[in-house]
């Protein structure tokens, strides 16, 4: 079996075609491939729908076949009633004539069913045979034909049992089951379709004359300029080249509040332009843009086969030969004891009940639905394997900066030395900070801009940057000006005035301190506060309720780590070098699978070390990092949500597998001993697959915990987003999840 080499997708539901027992994989040219005969049926219906008047032939077939099958059943029951009543009731001539007549009627009425429902199955079998693979459909068809042929001979000879009702009802149940199953599969990929339906099919492209013409989105190329009106979703990635607007990026970043975009800002496909008439220079289009990449990622994720599925695959692989063997042996055995007809029926029952549909569907259906639901909830799993791993984690490590805290620190306070005035110092600090893009400098700059009225930075100095320590500049008047860490001050030999040192003692240890030195003494200190994410405490609380051990790992100062750890109520480990982080995680992982949650920027090695890496806020660039789980938004609450979804998924997979195994083994036993009528076997087969499919589809209704993205490009999402901004960041998974579900 070499499914990994060339993956083929069903032409209807888009799910991968499951491996069959095949001795050659090349696809006969031009054939649309379907993963099951149900999909083939549904596809032909949809085809007929689009051709409208040429009769929805498959529904037709099914309908007419059911009509005839009901007739066959009534005739058969009439024949059977001979066994029910005492033989005396059948002594009249009329009874004998009717008896013979009903046998012929059963034959005549079952012919159309055989043709109508047998043909689509036969087509599938033929296609498979040309691919040189053997399917269970082939065996079913064989059994049905045998039952039919035997009964026809009986009718012609005028004696012997007839089994038209078996052939007919088996065909009806198998077709009906496949049909419903295919509908179910279609729904498994529905969530993805809903997302991709958000991409507009057309776009207004600027032509040579400078006007805009509407063209298919597929024709848009890089560097084209397109126009997007208010209320429309963007079909491409691009740079804003005219206009400005509020853009709702919830679908890509998960941020529920719209963000203001102006000239030169990058914008992403699938996001909603709320209020601006925009022109966009295309940077990526037609399958290469953000939303399509997200969707492609989810589709790819379906291919990886987790352990459970590999197990099922192995079983399915051995199933067919084994089933053939059991069918032949039991048919021979039953046939030798009770006649050829019993042999045929036994073999048919065995084949039907053993059909590994349910087993083959058990894992992929659950995972596919779950992956789609996760994507709707703003969580991308790289593969089904990751779902399985995430479900089994026992603990989680969090990075600090950018994960538990909002990435940017804010300067909350400026402490000037006793002899200095802030009015004098702040512009100096602002000017030197303006020369660096480091986070601390930016925080200082923002502080100065906020506290000195009508101040603009000047570039009076050439600023030298010392990585990891700070920035330096030379002023003709004051001499050297420096902004940086305590270490930089020590290196420069700048003393900290006693009064300042005293006040720093009392200041919160959790603050990052940025010193400003003018000349050779420290003139003041900025105290930088990191902001815990609003939802962090609630999210960690939920994690703890899930039974996870939590830890904070950071390269930052131990004091600050401890302060954040205390605020969130988790153990903290500070001053860790990247390799120490990795070692620490491995130590923790000895007691159970660990997940590492980071923003994917400065903690890549740690994320790579853990079994399950979770990256935060990677919506704008899903292919950026190697994390197995991507949270599109910066919302930490998505993590416990993902864990719950994963656990729920695994539970559903286990239920499915248990059911499929139990049903198949019990059924085969009954069938092989001739205790199961093929009609019941066919019904059981259809019901079993349906159970597995519906059980899996329950995952598609897993509470999202956030508002769904509305498909139409209306202003509605914006209003909803405003609402969600006011929602208290408590245990949203229970309360808000339910409301969102009810609202959907």
């Amino acid at each position: 079996m070499n499914a990994e080499e060339s993956t083929r997708y069903c032409a209807l539901c888009g799910l991968p075609v499951l491996p069959t027992l095949a001795w050659s994989r090349e696809n006969s040219a031009g054939d649309l491939e379907y993963c099951c005969s149900g999909c083939r049926t549904v596809a032909s219906i949809d085809e007929a729908d689009s051709l409208s008047d040429s009769a929805a032939s498959s529904v037709w077939r099914m309908g007419v076949a059911i009509f005839f099958a009901m007739n066959v059943m009534v005739f058969t029951l009439a024949l059977w009633s001979r066994d029910v009543y005492s033989a005396d009731a059948y002594t009249t001539e009329l009874a004998d004539v009717l008896h013979g007549l009903f046998r012929w009627a059963a034959l005549l009425f079952s012919l159309p069913v055989l043709f109508l429902l047998g043909e689509p199955i036969a087509v599938g079998v033929w296609q498979a045979l040309r691919r040189r693979s053997l399917t269970t459909d082939f065996l079913i068809l064989l059994g049905v034909s045998a039952a039919f042929a035997y009964s026809t001979v009986s009718v012609l000879r005028g004696e012997g049992q007839i089994y038209f009702e078996v052939a007919v009802m088996v065909l009806v149940f198998v077709s009906l089951g496949r049909y419903l199953e295919a509908r179910g599969k279609l729904r498994a990929s529905q969530s993805l379709d809903e997302l991709s339906a958000l991409l507009p099919a057309t776009a207004r492209r600027r032509d040579a004359q400078g006007g805009f013409t509407e063209v298919a989105a597929a024709e848009i190329r890089t560097d084209d300029v397109i126009r997007v009106l208010p209320g429309e979703r963007l079909p491409v990635d691009g740079i804003l080249c005219q206009g400005s607007a509020l853009i709702d990026e919830q679908i890509v970043t998960g941020e529920s509040t719209a963000s203001e975009k102006t000239l030169g800002d990058p914008v992403y496909s699938g996001t909603l332009n709320i209020d601006g008439d925009l022109q966009i220079t295309v940077t990526a289009a037609n399958g290469q843009e953000t939303l399509s990449r997200i969707l492609a990622l989810v589709r790819e994720a379906r291919l990886a086969r987790p352990a459970y599925q590999r197990l099922a695959d192995r079983i399915v692989y051995w199933f067919l030969p084994t089933v053939c063997l059991i069918a032949i042996v039991s048919a021979y055995w039953q046939g030798a004891q009770h006649g050829a007809d019993r042999g045929i029926l036994t073999a048919l029952a065995v084949v039907l009940i053993a059909c590994p549909c349910a087993l083959g569907l058990a894992t992929p259906m659950a995972l596919w639905t779950s992956l789609g639901r996760a994507a709707e909830g703003g969580v991308l799993f790289r593969s089904g394997l990751v779902v399985e791993q995430l479900a089994s984690i026992r603990g989680a490590c969090f990075d600090k900066t950018g994960t538990l805290t909002t990435g940017a620190a804010r300067a909350a306070e400026f402490l000037p030395a006793a002899a200095e005035s802030p009015e004098h110092l702040l512009p100096i600090a602002g000017d030197i900070a303006a020369g660096s893009s480091h986070g601390a400098s930016q925080a200082v700059l923002a502080y100065v801009e906020n506290h000195v009225a009508a101040w603009r930075p000047t570039d009076r100095w050439t600023v030298e940057s010392l990585p990891g320590r700070g920035v330096l500049a030379d002023d003709p008047g004051w001499g050297r000006v420096a902004l940086g860490s305590r270490r930089l001050m020590t290196e420069l030999g700048c003393a900290i005035p006693a009064d300042l040192a005293d006040r720093l003692e009392r200041a919160a240890a959790a603050c990052q301190q940025v010193f400003l030195a003018v000349g050779d003494r420290v003139a003041g200190v900025f105290l930088l506060h990191e902001h815990l994410r609003d939802e962090a405490v609630g999210a960690l609380q939920t994690c703890r309720q899930l039974g996870l051990r939590l830890a904070l790992l950071t390269g930052d100062d131990s004091n600050r780590a401890r302060a954040i750890g205390q605020a969130c109520g988790i153990e903290s480990h500070g001053q860790l070098l990247p390799e120490e982080k990795a070692a620490h995680i491995q130590e923790l992982a000895r007691r159970g699978t660990m997940a590492m949650i980071g923003d994917g920027l400065n903690d890549a090695p740690a994320i790579a070390t853990t079994q399950v890496g979770v990256a935060l806020g990677c919506g704008a660039d899903v292919t950026r990092d190697a994390a197995g789980v991507c949270l599109l938004s910066n919302d930490l609450r998505r993590f416990p949500w993902a864990v719950r979804l994963a656990r729920h998924t695994l539970r559903v997979v286990k239920q499915n597998l248990f059911w499929a195994f139990a049903y198949n083994s019990a059924g085969i036993l009954l069938a092989a001993t001739g205790r199961l009528n093929p009609i019941w076997a066919a019904l059981a087969m259809a019901i079993s697959s349906l159970l597995v499919v519906t059980n899996s589809l329950r995952l598609g209704r897993f509470p999202l915990g956030v508002e769904r993205i509305s498909p139409a490009g209306s202003a509605a999402p914006a209003l909803k987003s405003v609402d969600s901004g006011h929602r208290p960041a408590t245990d949203e998974l229970t309360a808000a999840g339910e409301t969102a579900k009810m609202g959907a």
Partner: protein
């Protein structure tokens, strides 16, 4: 089968209750001329009739089979008749408004789902489509149909079951055709009056069934299942 006329009337008047559910389907049968529409309506009803009768036959067989296989220890047919009678009486009383009607909401929702699915058949210009629409309409969950199916099951034979349900189905034809053909034929008050008459017909059918079951319980065992499915079609079980 002395109840056959009663069952027919029960279907005829009781179908006032079906209008809520099956009526929209009948109305959905689109057509050009009024004459053609009438024929389409008849074919549609024929489809329903077919389903009812087939199900009746199956129920009859099931009932006969149960009584045959349990002949020696239980009088299944009598008990089935009792059960069907009780259900019919309850249904009748509920229709008359003397008992609350549960589960109606659920059935309503089910028929809505079916209506969308059956569009293909209903909109088809061909006779087959209309017939099939009727056939599948016959499967729409309906308390009245189930009550009469129980009755069919207690009738003791495949042919009697077939007849029971055919009579019931035939009874539903006129009103359904009228609804599909001309929309509202009766005022709301008139419908309510019909409803009440139908309800008492159903109660009466149920009462007869109960009486029959009770009398069977008092007769010797071996007379319980005597009817022949082919030749003794109209022979009444004692």
């Amino acid at each position: 089968m002395i109840e056959l006329p009663l069952i027919f009337v029960g279907g005829l008047l009781g179908s006032a209750h079906c209008i809520g559910m099956c009526g929209p389907l009948a109305i959905a049968l689109s057509s050009a001329g009024p004459e053609r529409l009438l024929r389409r309506q008849l074919v549609f009803s024929l489809g329903r009739l077919f389903t009812y009768a087939s199900c009746g036959a199956m129920a009859g067989f099931g009932g006969a089979w149960i009584s045959a296989s349990s002949r020696t220890f239980v009088l299944s047919q009598a008990w089935l008749a009792l059960l069907a009678g009780v259900v019919l009486v309850l249904m009748g009383l509920a229709t008359a408004g003397l008992l609350p009607r549960p589960a109606l909401q659920f059935f309503g929702a089910a028929s809505c789902g079916a209506a969308g699915w059956m569009k293909t058949f209903l909109n088809s210009p061909s006779w087959t489509g209309v017939l099939l629409a009727g056939v599948f309409t016959g499967f729409i969950p309906c308390g009245l149909v189930y009550a009469f199916l129980l009755k069919a099951g207690s009738s003791g034979g495949i042919w009697q079951g077939w007849l029971t349900m055919a009579a019931f189905g035939l009874g539903t034809v006129p009103l359904m055709v009228a609804v599909g053909y001309g929309g509202r034929l009766f005022s709301v008050a008139g419908r309510a009056r019909l409803f009440r008459i139908a309800a008492w017909c159903i109660v009466l059918t149920g009462a007869i069934s109960i009486a029959r079951g009770a009398s069977q319980l008092n007769t010797p065992v071996d007379e319980a299942a005597e009817a022949c499915p082919f030749c003794a079609s109209d022979v009444e079980s004692p």
